[in-house]
Symmetry: C2
Subunit: 389 residues, 2 copies
Amino acid sequence: MDNFIFRNPTQIYFGKGMENKAGEAVSVYSKNILLHYGGGSIKKSGLYDRVIASLKSSGVEWTELAGVKPNPRLSLVREGIKICREKDIDFILAVGGGSVIDSAKAIAAGVPYEGDVWDFYEGKAQPEEVIGLGTVLTIPAAGSESSNGTVITKEEGQLKRPCGSELLYPDFSILNPELAMTLPPFQRACGVADMMAHLFERYFTNSYPVELTDRMIEAVLKTIIHNGPSVMMDGDTYDAWAEIMWSGTVAHNGSLDTGRLGDWGSHQMEHELSGIYDVAHGAGLAALFPHWMRYVMNQDIKRFVQLAVRVWNVDQNFKSDEETALAGIEALEQFWQSLGLATTLSGLDIPGDRLEEMAGKCAGETDNPQGQFVKLYKKDVLAILEMAL
Amino acid sequence: MDNFIFRNPTQIYFGKGMENKAGEAVSVYSKNILLHYGGGSIKKSGLYDRVIASLKSSGVEWTELAGVKPNPRLSLVREGIKICREKDIDFILAVGGGSVIDSAKAIAAGVPYEGDVWDFYEGKAQPEEVIGLGTVLTIPAAGSESSNGTVITKEEGQLKRPCGSELLYPDFSILNPELAMTLPPFQRACGVADMMAHLFERYFTNSYPVELTDRMIEAVLKTIIHNGPSVMMDGDTYDAWAEIMWSGTVAHNGSLDTGRLGDWGSHQMEHELSGIYDVAHGAGLAALFPHWMRYVMNQDIKRFVQLAVRVWNVDQNFKSDEETALAGIEALEQFWQSLGLATTLSGLDIPGDRLEEMAGKCAGETDNPQGQFVKLYKKDVLAILEMAL
């Protein structure tokens, strides 16, 4: 197990009706906040009204900034920073999914920073101070509600880049599984794929031994695989959504990184996909991950066998690790397909004419490799993209 | 899944040599601290010298209070409170196992409290303010290094009582598995039993469904069962100790309580045992838990079947849940016995002449029941103690 330092300070409010505590939770930190969200869905569902009522009853004043889109844009972040500075706002309440929360994190880091907020995403600077942040999660997927990361897309150049900092853990997050039950089926499936991808990124490591976190990651995966099909259905799916929503948070809150170094190469490749084609992050991951797995599996075939046997209940072929490992990868593809997700780029209507460009933006020919389990240079990224077509 | 609110703010420093960060970690909070520990073992091992050197190099001044014993005593807690008040100390560094940390937590809560610190343990008051607390853990067992609880023994009346509060999470804890490698074998075994008991207390719940936390608890149990025998050996057992030490923290840091209500009846019964006979907490738990399991298993036999099959790899008898469940309990007894632990009271040289007294101190005939999975009144506690003889 690798040495590590870990602390996740986010306070979680989980369960039915918890959004009604938003005002109370916010008022510990501030009475003058930015309310940040996406479009009309939170108004249609009534969530907006409940959050506003809760803010009012706690005497919290707010300024609204709506309009966050999937793959959240730098331009809106800049607008948020401007508003907060003008109005002396020191706390953001993000109501939405990962995109809204990531956008809010960028604003929170940008407000006290004298330079350009994009510096954080280009690795030119690290946040040293942030304003406060709380969230009301509506889409279980990205894990941003209790993670130290944010991903923003700069329109110019179609660049989608991540930033991580201990300061970016939200102060609190409100998770009510009921809020997810009205999501369109495609978004539900993308969420399931996204959280599974977060677990795979952690699972594939060269750190050894890491038995506890291996087994815990497997536990979360099995829970998602068991409950994923249930949340695709209509009717009273609260119990299944509760398992899925909490799994999505646990998958990405840092606790399963302890003592191991994750990979994250597939995430970097996906960022190039959705930077150009604006595909949903979970959909992009589903189209790439199985192909990445086949490309890298000989780095540690036993780890792929372990995943296949323990998580996918593959009947182990003791004479052929490769056959066992591949059966696990096929089981993953079948599972994602059963949720209605494509496991190829062509299934996402992504043509093959810009693979070279994406590979080049992602990694260098001899420098800037992506991934830790296996370092991927441009030729590797290109090979995986071609396999994924 | 039950609604829940959860936050664990303890910063973890995990791995080889991490005790050398003690001074740096402390100095964020204070330059005038109480150094609290047990006896000579940390001096013999050289840990004391390393911690002192680290404090010095960070300019931290300290006052020492040694002498914490297993089942830590109220009298020493009172002494610590007095010292802290006299010297304006606002931070405690506890170097030791669960007893030292529990004693430090009591002092931390007692210093700013105007009443008697025992009020917290009698349920007469709740801590509303505490002074800071950091730990250097030497015995993986109690989980107190990242929990919200403390257990103290009042000599008068031989009363051992717990107190829990969100304020009692340590600010930081330093976990170096190397420090555990020199423990005597009996203490190693007791630690393994203690952390397994913490997981069982959470596992046996009437909250339903709780699939994610079920599977995560099982993951931690399997890791402990796999690595427990290795840490009983001599030689380079760092890797196994790392799994065990981190398992002990995860078992009790609150993350596995999320959405479920634990039982804790066996812990209450054990407190009566060690209150009177001063047995090691883990040893007392090993002598009681299997008997509690047999007494309550029909409350939810399927849950015992699940534990037997998933954790103990029992070959399920699909026609007899009882047979499967009992085979799991027997596997637990055999495992603890294989570590050198007794699974009966007589194995601990505890006679049968004070069972009635212990049962009466633990629970009332018609009020003050213990446990949540099954409520235990005096007659139930007595029946379990008799089974355990």
